[in-house]
Symmetry: C2
Amino acid sequence: MTISEIAKLANVSKTTVSRVINNRPDVDSYTRKTILDIIEKYDYHPNANAKAILQKSRNVGLIIPYNAEFIFENPFFVEVMHGISTSLSQNNYYLVICYPHEQNYLDIYKQKRVDGFIVLSPNIGITTLLDSLLEKNAPFVCTARLEAYKDLASVDIDNRYGGSLAAKHLLSLGHKNVAFIGRRTIESTKVRFEGFEETYRQNGIIVDKSLFFGAEEATLEIGYDMTRVLLEKTPRPTAIFAGNDTLAIGAMSACKDLGLSVPEDIAIIGFDDISFASYVTPSLTTISHPAFKKGVAAAEMIIEYIESNKKPESRTLPIELVVRKTT
Amino acid sequence: MTISEIAKLANVSKTTVSRVINNRPDVDSYTRKTILDIIEKYDYHPNANAKAILQKSRNVGLIIPYNAEFIFENPFFVEVMHGISTSLSQNNYYLVICYPHEQNYLDIYKQKRVDGFIVLSPNIGITTLLDSLLEKNAPFVCTARLEAYKDLASVDIDNRYGGSLAAKHLLSLGHKNVAFIGRRTIESTKVRFEGFEETYRQNGIIVDKSLFFGAEEATLEIGYDMTRVLLEKTPRPTAIFAGNDTLAIGAMSACKDLGLSVPEDIAIIGFDDISFASYVTPSLTTISHPAFKKGVAAAEMIIEYIESNKKPESRTLPIELVVRKTT
DNA sequence: ATCATTTATGTAACCGGTTACGGAACTGGT
DNA sequence: ACCAGTTCCGTAACCGGTTACATAAATGAT
C-alpha cells in the first residue's frame, strides 16, 4: 500500500491523502472521512523512509562511549537507558543503539538515520567524539556534565554534593581513616571524591591520597580486586567510599573473602542506589541517583533540541543519602 | 552533499556515482578513483532513508514484550541485548528498541523502519504479538522457545536439562525437602521446574507442589517476598531452586533477614549465572546461561532471515552447573 | 576490414512520500 | 450583481537515491 494507491481508491490526488495523513486543516470533512476509512481498511502506514527524506527520521541515537561491556554490567546505566527509551517511545521517537567503533556514529548522522544523539555519561577520554559531534552541528545531549565542555546540554546530579553527603555520613559515624575506590577515567567519580575530601578537610581530617584507588573501569571484579589490595594497607581503613554501587558490591565480596565483616570491621558506602543495593547482604548504604528520571530528562531534552533546533537548558537532578546496613 | 552534487563535481552521472558507492564492477578504475576521492574529500555519506525506499533499512527492532521495567532489572536480559547489539553493529545493522505499546511494533514494520525483529524471550502471554507478526510475514527470531510455536526461529538453551542439573546437584547434597520459586508467566521457568521435578521423581522423591511459588514477574523484591512466605512453611525446606539469579539474590536477602544462614540453614541455587552471582555473599551456585552468545546468535539469525528471506534453523546453546558457596 | 562482443557511461523512469503554486467553487459583504 | 476572500483540491516538481535500458567506444575474432 502506498499513498498513490490510497489516492486512487479514494478518487483524489496524492496531495489530498498526504494532507489527511498529516492532519492538515484544509480538507473537506467528508473527503477526510472517506480517506481515513480507506486507510483504516487497508491498514496503510506511510513509509517512514520516504518521509524522512524530506523531514525528520524520528530516530535518536544512543551513543555508548567506551567499552559497552562495562556499561551493560552496570545496572545504573541500564536504568538510564530504560528511562530514555520509555520517554522517547511515548513521544513517538525511536531509540537506535550506536556502538561508536571508529567514527561510525557520525556516519549514522550523516546518513540521516538519526536526528540527534544522547551520549551516555561521556568521560574525559572521548573528546574526539564530542568535538566531531560539535563540528558537525549534530544535536546531542549528555547524561553527565564535563568541566571541559561546560556549554553542552546535559542532565546530571551534583556529584560534589553527593561526595559531601557520603563524607558527612561517615564522619558522623566516627570514621577517620577512609579509602576511596573509583573509576579513574570518569569525571563524575573525580568530583565525587573531591566533594568527599573537601568535607573531610573542612572537618580537620586530611584524606590519605594513597588510599584513593582508581581503575580503568567500574566492574564488580575490579571493585573486588581493588579492595583486596586496599585492605592490606596498615593501618587498615575503617570505611570505603565506592564511586558506584557496582564497585561497592565487589568490595563487599572482597571483605567477606578476607574474613572481615561489614559494617563491624569495615563500613562501605556506594553511589547510585541500584536495585541490587537493597538486596545484597548486608544491604548497601548509598547515595540515590535518579537513573530513570535522568533518562527521561535526556530524552525530553534531545526532542526539544531536535524540534526547536535550539540547545535546551541543562538540568540538575536531586539526590539524597540512603542509609542501610553497610555503615 | 547528495549523489547529484558528487556527480556534478566528478563530471559524471548519478548512475556512475551510485555504481561506485555500491561497489559495482562496471566502472573504469580511473573514474572510480576520481569519484572516491571526491566522496572522501566532501565526506559524503549516502542518505540511508532514500536508500531504504528501494532497499532494506538495515534496522532490526528489538521487541521487549511485557513490562520493560522487569526486563531491565534483570542483568541476564541486558547481557542478551548486549550480544545482539554487538553482533548487529559488526554487520552494519542497527538496533532499534521497540516498546510494544498497543500494536506499534507492527506499525514500525509497516512503516519500513525495520527489516525484522528479535523478540526478547517471549512468554505464553504474548500470542497476539507473535500471531500478528506471523500474519504480516515479518521476519523475526525469538530468544526463547515456546512449545505452542514450535516452528518459530529461536535460540535457546535446554531448560529441562538445566532443571535436572540443579536437581542432581541438590540431591547429591542430600536435600529432600526443596522449594521452587519462579515466574509463573514464562515457559522457560515452567520447563526448568519440570526438569527439576522429573529428576527428583526419578530418584524416588516427589517434590511438594505447594512449595512451587509462582509470581508474575522475576524481580529482586518478588524473590525476597516469595521467600519470606515460603520459609514459614513447616517443615521448612532445606533448599530453594530459583528460576533465575535475580530471584535467587532476592531470596538470599530474605534468608538473611530471617536470621537463616546460607548454605548452612538453607541452600540456594539460581539460574543464568549473571555477573552479580559471583559477587553476592556468599557467591551463588547457579546454572550458566550464555546470554551474550544467545544475543549474538539471535542477531546472526535475524540477519540471515532478512537477507535470504528464509527462516533460519533454531539453535540450542550449551549450559552447565556452576557450583559456588550457596549450596 | 568487418562484425560481434565487451566495457563504460548516460538517460530517464521510478521509489513513496512532500510541497509550492494555481485555480475552481463557494461564501459573504456592499 | 460584483468582487474579495475562503475553502478545497489537483498538477507537477522535488527529495536523494536505484535501476532498466540504450548507446558509444574499445576490443577481439576472423
